[in-house]
């Protein structure tokens, strides 16, 4: 029997999805146009905290083109608080105070942008006209905005049924930090603040729903990362059978975490109202809404300490941190739990003690955005390592090397509960070669010994930053795939995940092509249509390639086997004498003796006669893959920056990445993922910050004021790959989606400190994001 050889897997392949996207034919949700389609717009709270005393829609109802105006009192069953998406993790002693929002607020609003009423009209223009004249009688209340102050005794309480703003509190520890600290040669304590901003996919959210009462089904097109999850949520909220709902995620213009299921009010309301009105309804979030209506990440404050012996070996780390949770917590503890776990970094930390407190504030909801709290944790540990190196007189790379988890210590059990509720265990890793490679490509020695001193003599301020990171990826629960050979000979793969630019149409095709003896262009990948494939979770936590990829691999293997069996039978030889090649089953001895796959597919679906008992029609198989636990990717980022000491403008001269995401399916795609991640990391480090006023208004809620990096801010990068196969899956792959974004701020801070020789002046960069202004102020003091 033909064994799979890697012809396409692992190689650079142009993307199958590109021709449609390059010619304007790719269907995005905003492009869905149905007959009898109405348009929705929302009245949103202009206040971060207010009581609603009444809503007057009478003037709006008189406007032309208005179909319906919906407020909370119309919602019935739908009006109850939405369920939690992610329940609290099984951490001992966990305190968790659940608060989720209702689709339309009727009594209280708790953040600017919270939806209060929905207008359905003939056009979006007319719908917005009506939102303008709906009078909501708000009674403004005090606010809880500042993260720390929201815990003070006199703080305003965001949820009136609670006695404080503590959303959750969780302590996780291993070993005995206090004891370790006592025995330490050096203990370093610092306070770090880290803010991560907004995802801003270039396509905002959006949903179109159509109720068809001829078949009693609901059809939904949504810019979602988890079509099956959305279907389940809608079924639950609307009391419908899952099977009567078809959710289609067409091309999605970026997701980065914020388009997974959150029970967003609009996503519940549009299908509901479409059913109620018996028509099609469309809502496309505008960018103004996106600033308040889509989840965002935000700030944490870490009081962290590290205990070391005199050789720089870590004895323990202690961290107490606050996490700004926003007004509700539908996504549970995913983000802060990632932070808590990421502080462990790439190191052997025998004693760890971390307590997090999540805090309700009158701000939009916090949810995972690429990195999802990991960059907070990595920043803390990497900065601590920098400071430790300095205090102990060690080279920054040497201290890391000494503390790395050794290659032979994997699987490495970190004894904490991770975001997937399993015990955080790093499956495989090999950290030193990645660091060595970085030192080589960035030419560390030459930079430190020659270049930097020479540049300094010329009056230039150039510095280097090198940091390590790891990332838990590819978590469960599972994904599945069905593969079918069509009568044309093309191979059709359907899977339940959504795709938002991750090149699944190509990477998955590469996996299948090798098994089936076809080219990737002959493989059609269908994602994100719940009628095509029923089961699935979604694309998040850098899991698509790992989890769906392995399901596809297994399905392809099974279909290949069926094809070989049928082919052998057809060609009258044994299964060991045939192979898949060129879209045919061929005999190995004489490859001109062959039968096309398409013909076999037809033969496998006879229209007359009896089939052998126990056999199934078609060349088809469905397989599922559920990893026991996640797989850990890692890497090293290196950056060289030049700072203008007068203006504090930072110019990134070089950016290097050495990355290990296990076995690579398509290096071009991996490079692209890393580039994009680093670009977002640069935004996080130096440009993007959501500015809240004391009353909870976002003061920079336009893309002119919220600074997404452009081509002028993102440097060219060199990406190097190291491949340490994962032990959790047969393909050996690890996730890569979020990796690029995670360590950038830590590298950036180290490099800027170095460029300006700040530690010598007693200045440390402990807060992200930085900005020229912030740097200037720091250096003035």
């Amino acid at each position: 029997m033909g064994k799979k050889t890697n012809r396409y897997f692992g190689t650079r392949q142009r993307r199958n999805e590109d021709p449609a996207l390059l010619t304007g034919r790719g269907l995005f949700v905003a492009d869905v146009h149905l007959s009898n389609m109405r348009h929705a717009a929302f009245v949103r709270s202009p206040f971060a905290s207010a009581k609603i005393n009444g809503i007057d829609t009478s003037a709006a109802k008189k406007l032309p083109g208005i179909v319906a105006i919906i407020t909370a009192e119309d919602l019935g069953e739908l009006g109850r608080p939405t369920p939690l998406v992610v329940p609290p993790p099984p951490i001992e002693g966990l305190e968790f105070n659940q608060q989720t929002q209702v689709p339309l607020a009727s009594k209280r609003v708790r953040y600017v942008g919270e939806p209060v009423a929905m207008v359905i009209a003939e056009t979006r223009y007319l719908a917005e006209d009506a939102t303008d004249v709906i009078e909501v009688d708000f009674e403004e209340l005090p606010t809880a905005i500042d993260l720390e102050k929201s815990l003070h005794d006199d703080a305003f309480i965001v949820h009136e049924d609670m006695s404080s703003n503590v959303a959750a509190r969780a302590r996780q520890f291993k070993g005995d930090y206090a004891k370790a600290a006592k025995a330490a040669h050096t203990v370093i304590k610092r306070r770090f603040t880290y803010e991560h901003g907004m995802a801003h996919p270039m396509e905002t959210r959006g949903i179109v729903a159509q109720w068809d009462d001829r078949v009693n089904r609901l059809f939904v097109w949504a810019a979602t990362q988890g079509p099956s999850l959305l279907r389940g949520a809608l079924a639950g909220m609307m009391g419908m059978n899952e099977g009567d709902i078809r959710v289609i995620a067409p091309f999605v213009g970026g997701g980065f975490g914020v388009k997974v299921l959150y029970y967003y009010p609009e996503e519940m309301l549009i299908p509901w109202v479409a059913k109620r009105l018996g028509c099609a309804v469309k809502w496309i979030e505008d960018r103004g809404e996106h600033f308040v209506a889509t989840v965002q990440e935000r700030g944490q404050i870490h009081d962290a300490e590290i205990a070391l012996d005199k050789n720089g070996m870590i004895l323990g780390v202690k961290d107490t941190f606050l996490h700004d949770n926003g007004a509700y917590n539908p996504y549970g503890l995913t983000v802060p739990l990632n932070s808590q776990c990421s502080v462990l970094g790439n190191y052997v930390i025998p004693n760890y003690d971390s307590t997090m407190t999540c805090v309700y504030t009158n701000k939009p909801i916090v949810g995972p955005f690429r990195g999802a709290g990991r960059q907070h944790g990595i920043f803390v540990i990497e900065r601590l390592m920098d400071i430790a190196a300095r205090e102990l007189g060690l080279d920054r790379n040497e201290i890391r090397r000494r503390n790395y988890i050794p290659h032979d210590a994997f699987p490495f059990n970190n004894e904490l509960i991770f975001q997937d509720f399993t015990v955080l265990t790093y499956d495989t890793g090999n950290y030193e070669p990645a660091l060595d490679r970085m030192l080589e490509v960035i030419d560390y020695k030459k930079f430190i010994e020659d270049e930097q001193p020479n540049l300094k003599a010329e009056g230039r301020h150039v510095g280097i930053g090198i940091v390590s990171y790891m990332e838990g990826t590819g978590i469960g629960p599972y994904e599945g795939a069905k593969i079918q050979v069509q009568s044309t000979g093309r191979v059709r793969v359907v899977t339940g995940i959504g795709t938002q630019g991750q090149s699944h149409f190509t990477s998955f095709a590469q996996i299948v092509a090798d098994h089936m003896g076809v080219t990737p262009e002959e493989v059609d990948i269908i994602t994100g249509d719940t009628d095509q494939f029923y089961w699935g979770a979604g694309t998040f936590a850098s899991r698509g390639a790992v989890v769906a990829g392995n399901a596809i691999n297994e399905a392809a293997e099974a279909v290949a086997k069926i094809a070989l069996e049928k082919g052998a039978e057809h060609l009258g030889c044994a299964i060991n004498d045939v192979a898949l090649e060129d879209g045919h089953v061929v005999t190995i001895k004489d490859t001109t003796k062959r039968v096309p796959l398409g013909e076999l597919a037809l033969l496998a679906n006879p229209m007359r006669g009896a089939v052998k008992p126990g056999t199934e029609p078609g060349l088809e198989a469905t397989r599922f893959f559920g990893p026991e636990r996640g797989t850990t990717a890692n890497g090293v980022h290196g950056v060289i920056v030049e700072v203008d000491p007068e203006t504090m403008f930072v110019n990134i001269l070089k950016y290097f990445i050495v990355h290990d995401c296990g076995v690579i399916i398509n290096p071009m795609v991996v490079d692209g993922q890393i580039h994009g991640g680093v670009a977002q990391g640069i935004g996080n480090a130096f440009y993007e910050k959501i500015e809240f006023s004391e009353s909870g208004q976002i003061q920079n809620a336009t893309l002119a004021d919220y600074l997404l990096p452009t081509s002028m801010e993102v440097p060219d990068m060199d990406v190097e790959h190291i491949e340490t196969p994962s032990a959790t899956n047969r393909l050996g792959i690890k996730g890569v989606g979020e990796a690029g974004a995670i360590p950038v701020a830590a590298a950036f801070a180290q490099a800027v400190e170095d460029a300006l020789d700040l530690p010598a002046k007693g200045i440390e960069l402990l807060d992200i994001p930085l900005s020229p202004d912030a740097l200037w102020i720091l250096t003035q003091s």
């Binding site: 979006r124 006209d129 809404e289 440009y687 452009t710 002028m712 900005s771 020229p772 102020i777």
Partner: protein, 296 residues
Amino acid sequence: MKPARFKYANPKTLNDALSLRAEYEDESRFLAGGQSLLPTMAFRLAQPEILIDLNWLHELNYVRLETSGAIRVGATVRHREMQVNRLIIDHQPLVNEAVFQVAHQQIRNRGTLCGNLAHADPSSEMPAVMLALEARFHAKSIDTDRWIEAVDFFLGVFETALEGPEMLIEIELPSMPERIGTSFMELSRRPGDYAMMGVAVVLTLNKDGTCANCRLAFCNASDTAVLAPKAMASLVGKPVNEETVRAVANIVQTELDPPDNINASSAYKTHLAGVLTRRALLKAVERASGGARAAA
């Protein structure tokens, strides 16, 4: 994010446009390139009842060299012309240098110079350039016709000396004498953004190389584009070198009191004003003494 409903007028002549404006003074707005007004309307922060679209007034689409050597730019001339028009490149290097800092090419292809000035955003580049150049503004209504000096034109944030029914129909950029050097420098978080701080310099030298006249105009330093008169005066009669410009920069820092912005505190902006003054003056003197007036 859709604009509120309005009635639309597309006059084909200046006269028609001005009559409409006179008739509907309070409820109407002119629309030029729309690159400032349309986003404001999309957020429904502006909801004019009537929009008088100037884009059809071809008679105002000119860049003209007057016999005096001055250049006039009509109301519908787009930013792009400041980049490519030979007259601007040859005679108004400061305008040409600064325009590349205004937004991005797609916006410059549509936005107009006059619309930009009428909009009077204090962080915009062009008002400062006009102050530095001592440009003049031609305001016209159906009944009135007058010229306004640059120093009198900008009154506040989004506020100009244009009255009720007046339209800015053109501006005049005075001709530049010999031994003049100009320079525009700004710092913005991302190229193409409005300036965090910016300075426009017009430096005229005496034959002996000392400063005959110096104009320093700043953007984003106040609620309008502003000059720094004390700093300007302090350089007159002096040679222009590292040391003297440093002194000028110091005066600038005491003279300006810029407001805080989201991306930059007042103190930092004051600091930047000094840095930019020094750098821009040195660039200007290099250009003035090199006889090369063109922007690098």
